[in-house]
């Protein structure tokens, strides 16, 4: 593994933070290399935040909603109508709304952590969580496909109709690889990589500003302002990507489920 790192003895040079900095010491036991980490705390906190917000918003169930209820309904309606209904459609979509809703807000809150001071760590900059969610989705859509079409589903998913027979030997392996091997990997790594990269960029910009301000040379010191402007722009971009990746992950989940449900018509 190649990584950006520098031996500590060159203390005068710029020492950018690397991937190691994303793995903070554990909270319990304090400072240990292994144990209950900040990541884990953030995950559990996100469950509390989401549950409390939506339970409070849905609690009163007024026909004419208040401000909180309206916000909750708008958020719920976004996933329900904007993702589940639009992609899956038909009468079946209600069954998958809870999964898509949970995924979207779980990922959204865990991503947004990266843009909020104190939290300042997107949970999915560690690959474990992304593997878990993508794995859950993988199992879910295959199960849906098999339940709907029986074992014939694997044929439907790998043998495209309307393709000349002599191309099938090429197409079938490609379909198998792209649908069953690559799909969960890209699904998880897309989320993980964007969060990791975004967090690294903001961290490097932060340490770069610190390094430049420490310089003796006044002009060199002044260039930190440029880095600051760039860092703010990157921060905004990161915030956008955090929301976007939560949406993309949920959208892809909906598309996979839809593909499994209507495998015979594809």
């Amino acid at each position: 593994m190649i990584a950006l790192a520098l031996p500590a003895q060159n203390s005068g040079d710029f020492n950018p933070p690397g991937i190691n900095e994303l793995h903070l010491p554990a909270i319990l036991p304090w400072g240990a290399a292994e144990g209950f980490s900040k990541q884990m705390l953030l995950v559990l906190l996100s469950v509390v935040f989401i549950s409390v917000f939506f339970l409070l918003a849905a609690r009163k169930q007024q026909l004419v909603p208040g401000r909180l209820q309206f916000a909750g309904e708008a958020a719920y309606g976004f996933v329900r109508n904007g993702i589940a209904k639009d992609i899956i459609g038909g009468r079946d979509f209600m069954k998958y709304v809870p999964l898509l809703f949970s995924l979207f807000f779980f990922i959204l809150v865990n991503n947004i952590y990266g843009a909020i001071p104190v939290f300042q760590l997107p949970t999915f900059s560690h690959v474990g969580g992304a593997y878990v969610l993508a794995g859950l989705v993988y199992v879910t859509w295959i199960a849906i496909g098999v339940k709907k079409n029986g074992l014939r589903y694997f044929k439907l998913a790998t043998v495209p109709s309307g393709v000349p027979w002599y191309i099938l030997p090429i197409v079938i392996p490609i379909e198998i690889i792209s649908n069953f091997a690559v799909r969960p990997v890209t699904h998880s790594l897309r989320l993980f990589a964007t969060m990791l990269a975004g967090h690294l960029i903001v961290m490097i910009a932060g340490s770069g500003i610190e390094y430049l301000i420490m310089q003796e040379n006044f002009l060199l010191k002044g260039t930190s302002v440029l880095v600051l402007v760039g860092a703010i722009a990157m921060y905004m971009l990161e915030a956008l990507i955090m929301v976007l990746q939560a949406y993309v992950f949920t959208l892809l989940t909906a598309i996979y489920i839809e593909g499994a449900l209507h495998a015979d018509s594809h």
Binding site: I2, G18, Q61, L63, F106
Partner: protein, 183 residues
Amino acid sequence: MHQLIISAAAEGDVNPLVPNGWEMLVVFVGFAILFFIVVKFVVPMFEKTFAERAEAIEGGIAKAEKAQAEASAALEEYKQQLTDARTEANRIREEARAEGAQILADLKEKAAAESARITAQAHAQIESERQAAVVSLRSEVGTLATTLAGRIVGESLDDDARAARVVDRFLADLESQNAGAAK
């Protein structure tokens, strides 16, 4: 800058693609809890509100449509009643006019009849009085004339039968003279 890039494997650097098992477990458990809460509470509550709202709106629309229909029915009824009332009023006016004309005609007729009756009665009375006057005049004039003539002639004209004949003849002459003069 190439000195920045060094192999980190020797320093025990983290491989970002290798997950931490405990973290995976925490994410799994956390997501499972969230999923449970969402399935059990959040989605049913929102769906219930949505359903109730849809029902309320649809019910409201139905109610409004019903009210609209009722209102137009009432309007129709009022218009009908108004037309009826106008027709009725016209009819009554026509009737009253006809009745008035009838009454007037009756009164005129009655008045004419009354006046004719009064006239006829007056004529009859005048006639009878004239007859009475003629009769009394005839007898009185006869008596007077007889008495007068008797006084002048000196002869008794007491013979009633003769005297009456003379008087009658005289009067008949007189009447025929009158009749001739009237011609």
